[in-house]
Subunit: 349 residues, 3 copies
């Protein structure tokens, strides 16, 4: 799809310098801009590219002073960085708007319901008693189990599987091949060494404005609900175990795992490959560094690092010594000899 400078300027409340009819079909970085793209300048580091870019349109801050004339059509805006984000969103929404109606063959149970303006992709499955809100997009190969509820404007990308009875809120995005509501990992050890499955009869409840990456797994509760709070953002390949609860606006990077029944606060930020032991309670605004493993409860506002995780500052001080442990060790054993000599000479005095 194509946008012209006039449309973009109107969308951004911007002012055009140059040809208002210039047409673009994609955004680009200034150093890679080709004809038909729109780019921006925010970081002075990239200033030199402004005079060589092949892009057709460039967004500039209103107060930016050009050193010499440039080729692209200019759109002046209050904040070029925020401006390009709006332009990206404009392209995205145009692309998403193309997906609508029901493609065939797809399976939509006669006992399922959907609101207005939904997209049901080819080979998608919507099982009995499922309820979709308005403007929901179900991509091909999605599986929506019995009695699942999906809120308005939510997008479920190809290959996502949502088991029976789970609930997804409004304005959510779930990326391909994520699995919502598979059985939690619960087994009772038997006297003969075997394990007996503990049925997992709860569900998963995902609140509004949640985004979930690709190949992420969120298990259903044994009883009750595994809960993902509103505004939570989960990256790819994350494991959320049964009965976990995550507070609103918490952000979790890829490959992190949260074990069963852990309670996570609001506005936390967990970096990639972090881990949290089961049944812990983590406060609000807690940060966990990448690869770090939490093994104890954590109060509000703490920054944690390492495995087992310690407060970040303390861990760093320990690690600084660790880096030079051989020298420390050598020092100790060198001293030991001296002290032994001192003691010996003292004894012989």
């Amino acid at each position: 799809m194509q946008l012209n400078a006039e449309t973009i300027a109107a969308h951004l409340n911007g002012t055009i310098e140059g040809d208002a009819s210039t047409v673009v079909s994609a955004p680009a970085r200034i150093e890679q801009g080709k004809t038909g793209t729109v780019c921006f300048l925010a970081n002075p580091k990239y200033e030199k590219y402004l005079y060589t870019t092949q892009a057709s349109i460039v967004l500039l801050n209103r107060d930016y002073n050009l050193q010499s004339p440039i080729t692209p059509t200019i759109i002046r805006v209050d904040n070029a960085y925020e401006g390009i984000a709006s332009v990206l969103a404009l392209f995205e929404s145009a692309k998403l708007a193309e997906k609508k109606g029901r493609e065939m063959p797809s399976f939509f149970s006669w006992r399922a319901k959907k609101g207005k303006n939904c997209y049901i992709g080819v080979f998608a499955v919507v099982s009995k008693k499922a309820r979709l809100g308005n403007n929901v997009k179900i991509y091909p190969h999605v599986y929506i189990g019995d009695n699942v509820k999906i809120g308005d404007n939510t997008i479920i990308y190809s290959g996502v599987k949502i088991y029976h009875d789970c609930v997804v809120g409004n304005n959510c995005i779930i990326h391909s091949n994520s699995v919502i509501g598979a059985d939690g990992f619960g087994f009772a050890p038997q006297a003969n060494g075997e394990y007996k499955k503990i049925p997992q009869t709860g569900n998963v409840v995902i609140d509004d404005n949640v985004e979930i990456g690709a190949c992420t797994t969120i298990d259903r509760a044994t009883m009750g609900s595994t809960v993902v709070g509103s505004g939570v953002k989960l990256d790819n390949l994350i494991q959320i175990a049964h009965n976990v609860e995550i507070g609103k606006n918490t952000v979790i990077a890829a490959q992190t795992g949260i074990a069963g029944s852990a309670k996570i606060g609001e506005s936390c930020v967990f970096a990639g490959q972090a881990g949290i032991i089961g049944h812990l309670t983590v406060g609000n605004r807690v940060t966990i560094a990448s690869k770090s493993g939490l093994s104890n409860n954590v109060a509000d506002d703490k920054a944690m690092l390492g495995f087992p995780a310690m407060e970040a500052g303390k861990y760093k001080r320990s690690f600084a010594v660790y880096r030079n442990l051989p020298e420390l060790s050598n020092e100790v054993y060198r001293m030991k000899k001296i002290v032994e000599q001192l003691t010996a000479s003292k004894d012989t005095e």
Copy 2:
């Protein structure tokens, strides 16, 4: 589906106190019980909720003494905790029993075979020469490759992919989007820096009573078989590399990885995000703590922790010192000065 108190009591060999016709449609935790649910009391910590719960039925131990009358219908059983597990299983089996027959369109090769009472979901694929036992459930979007064999009563959830020639036993459960039998990661380095693929012509053999979580990957052997023993339980997002063998009744938590050709014993327990180097041999009943990385063979009955993993007790003692390394280091360098003074004064005596 609905169960009444009489049915549940008969199933549990329990005694009813109250209305035997009370109907429930789901289990609940006692503190969250609503009308139409069945809950239980096992842990005294939750005793207070017994007098306020809205649940319609509650399971109590036969010897439990009520402080005052309660609203729900009571079913007295020998062990309320085991009782609720049986009730959960009752609801689950009712739900699973609903899935039967062949939904269309689905692909079932005329050269494939299936036993009695199988479920083949819409858009599922069962390729040529595949053989399914009795009561097998193949959910929508499952791919069963050529010549795959699946035992009786096994459930394969939506989106699972099983490559050609693999074998899955009886009474297994494989959760959504797991991949069984993709090529092992084997490449021969070439003189020009490129890598040449080593064909992976073996398969995966999964024994009886195995449960596999969502988005878990088990690679086929280069030659021979990658083997998952009977009763093994694998959580989500686990990597099992080519030619690995896992002994019976071993339990492995989410995001753990086992590298190629490692041999794992029976009745081991590996916590989440653990890792095992290739070609290792791990004994029986070995436990590995979360995030820990095994880099050497381990004998029976060891508990391992850390990276590289050490025996847990030893690792903990080292980590206890690590936590206070800066203090230790300061002490060393403070002493060093004193010792130098002592030595100097000695020299000048």
Copy 3:
């Protein structure tokens, strides 16, 4: 499929000793060889099995001296290990060659194009403006988004999802349930604590001869491209974040994660469960040990270990001390007492 000794010998430029009409249908390891299989002897450790194997054909080096006659038909070759790899490839290519044509129902947009001799599996989706080269194999349940380009001879296994605008080169293999081109994890924090999605409008570009394992995720760039260089081999469950670039012939083992905008050099080898912080630059031929986490740029040819990663040799020396930290600590505090006594006795002199 079946091959006889004559066909195999011709393929390997080998010499037959025994019955040239002996037929085999699978390769096997020498210790597991059954009738109808072909095995090989390269490692002297396995020599004893040569005289007991049930295999029908065995590959031997030309210069190998038998101790006594053996049952299988022998094919003498220059290098038995390389020979068996060729035989494996022969079986594999025969199996792959069987997949051809378009199975129905499948979805192939009238605005998509494909070259000669492609395979389109049942329930696969090829969206509008997608372009497939010659000999491309698209297995069942694959989703190819709008405007995706796939090169010649590439194999996409069941359940792979490739989002719009992504590019995959020639001779690539992508295993089941991997996701190419899902949105990168980019959100702008808002004053009210919520996060606003930054649209991800770039794509993923995968060069020629790349193999990608199962359930691996490669996110699309915010703008521009996430790039996987030619000859790169990625194992299962790997996370490649937005705007990452990976140089040619780099090999990455399972469950490793690379955070956003990191630039990885050529011919690197990363072991399993490794992690790389965002925006780092990693040189050529760098190795990272399993479970290790890179938090700084790394120059060419370094071997890194630990978290945070240090040069491997240095880390090992520190870890050697760590293993015995309690002893070191005890030594320090024992010495402290002696030094205090020495100081005290000195003071009282």
